[in-house]
């Protein structure tokens, strides 16, 4: 087994026999053209010729194809899975690009030019010169309400989104509030209803008028879509039931933040719990910057 200096390593030699960043040039051009269309029609899902990647569908093949098509030798790549840089999916994707493209890797959000993410948006606000690539399992927000692709295409074409509002209304009728807590549907630039990928709805407000370009890739479903910088992204709601995010009544047990999205960690078999930032880089930066340790707040 080759020992890889993944995570921080300077460029190493690419794997012999493969093109830079794995995909062949014709595939990259096809994906690049798709990305340009996606940027020109914000929130619209553009079909593309998704390729087989050397890992299973559901592990981020859509995001990886976008990253492979945009990344260059002078980029710095960060990969997160549920906010963390050190989880299986993030580590294997980072290793993949380290092997096939040899691009510089970082765990620091501020140092990255391209960030590929599974199910979180970093807590640190992103900049104008960064690109956020989302891994998307189900790009069609209407799919669970209307199984036929021919119908959902028409619904998007006609802006016929009543069925989505009925679904949200039924939540309110049954439970008194909208219970969707992740992959919460959004309206992009006042036109297309879009699935933000399964990010917690806590992250939805960060998408609105974000300075960074946001690209979404769904490998199995063969769709790419985008939100250009500074584009209005509105979470669907009703006047009398406005969109709101759930604040957890805890602060991070490691860095003390009460702003960030927290993971719950079971620490023993006697009901012990520790709440920590899901964004590992944000948490570490705060601790390194000497923010107050506040373990007591985690109970």
């Amino acid at each position: 087994m080759t020992q890889l200096d993944e995570g921080s390593g300077p460029a190493e030699v690419g794997v012999a026999g493969y093109n830079f960043a794995y995909l062949d040039e014709q595939t990259k051009r096809m994906i690049r053209r798709t990305i340009l269309k996606a940027v020109a029609i914000p929130g619209y899902q553009v079909a593309f010729g998704s390729r087989e990647m050397p890992l299973a569908y559901g592990w981020g093949t859509g995001g990886m194809q976008i990253t492979a098509a945009i990344v260059g030798a002078d980029d710095t790549l960060k990969v997160i899975d549920q906010g963390a840089d050190d989880t299986t999916n993030a580590v294997s994707i980072r290793r993949f690009f380290n092997r096939t493209a040899g691009v510089a890797m970082t765990e620091r959000t501020v140092d990255a030019s391209v960030i590929q993410t599974r199910h979180r948006i970093p807590e640190t606000p992103l900049r104008d010169d960064q690109i956020l690539v989302y891994q998307v399992p189900m790009p069609e927000p209407l799919r669970y309400l209307e199984p036929r692709e021919t119908e959902t295409q028409k619904m998007h074409a006609l802006s016929e989104y009543g069925v989505m509002h009925v679904k949200l209304y039924e939540d309110i009728a049954r439970h008194g509030r909208i219970t969707t807590s992740y992959d919460y549907p959004v309206l992009v630039n006042g036109r297309y209803v879009m699935a933000p990928s399964p990010i917690p709805k806590f992250d939805n407000p960060k998408m609105d008028r974000m300075p960074a370009l946001q690209l979404f890739g769904a490998g199995r479903e063969k769709r790419i879509y985008a939100v250009p910088p500074y584009t209005p992204v509105k979470s669907l709601d009703f006047e009398d039931h406005p969109f709101s995010i759930d604040r957890q009544p805890h602060s991070c047990g490691l860095c003390g933040s009460n702003e960030s999205f927290l993971d719950e960690i079971v620490t023993d078999d006697a009901g012990g719990r520790l709440y920590v930032c899901s964004d590992t880089d944000y948490c570490r930066e705060r601790r390194e910057a000497g923010d107050v340790m506040n373990r007591s707040a985690a109970e």
Binding site: L36, A40, I41, Y44, I70, P228
Partner: protein
């Protein structure tokens, strides 16, 4: 048999096309921003450096191209060799349209504008103009722009802007335009609102 001395393409097609694409992506995501993609070392006389760069980065056998302008035989041969793109006879068949001189531009309604269900099946127009200046000229707003931006496109007529507005009023159908002037490039996706 006429012979045309073929000019070279990118030195390093993998990394050169990636850099050109990223410059173009930057321009398309931020309408009004002018970028300067690095061109190939040699290019046909009728092409501006930025045009040649975009053609090599985006065109291949999957992109029917409609080519218009004076003295384009050399360009055609160069693109046929380096990109291998098919050439089509009418603008509406084209995935990309390359117009090397504004005088050769047909009515914008002649291009494919996509359908409501598949708006991406529209022509992307590559138009060579005289000069691009940011910060003055037309007032731009829409996705990708923080408030407003300004872009001065030297060489296009007033009817271009009226026709573009008419095409883009059909959103999600519409026309995405890439302007090139010498080494500079700017893009106007269909979402950008343009005012005088």
């Amino acid at each position: 048999m006429s012979q045309i001395a073929l000019k070279a393409g990118f030195d390093d097609s993998v990394h050169d096309s990636q850099r050109v694409f990223r410059a173009l992506l930057d321009a398309m995501s931020r309408p009004g921003r002018i970028v300067t993609p690095s061109p190939p070392p040699e290019l046909p006389a009728a092409l501006h450096p930025a045009t040649a760069a975009v053609c090599l980065a985006l065109l291949d056998f999957e992109t029917p191209l409609w080519l218009a302008g004076p003295d384009i035989a050399e360009t055609r041969a160069w693109l046929a060799f380096h990109a291998g793109c098919p050439f089509v006879a009418t603008p509406e068949q084209a995935a990309f349209a390359l117009v090397t001189d504004v005088a050769a531009l047909p009515a914008l309604g002649d291009f494919a504008l996509g359908s409501d269900e598949m708006p991406e099946r529209s022509t992307t127009l590559l138009l060579q103009v005289g000069r691009l200046v940011a910060g003055q000229g037309q007032r731009l707003s829409g996705p990708g722009i923080d408030g407003t931006a300004w872009l001065d496109v030297d060489g296009v007529t007033a009817s271009f802007w009226t026709e573009r507005a008419a095409a883009c009023a059909l959103f999600p159908r519409g026309l995405d335009v890439i302007f090139t002037a010498g080494p500079a490039l700017a893009a106007l996706p269909r979402t950008t609102q343009v005012e005088d």
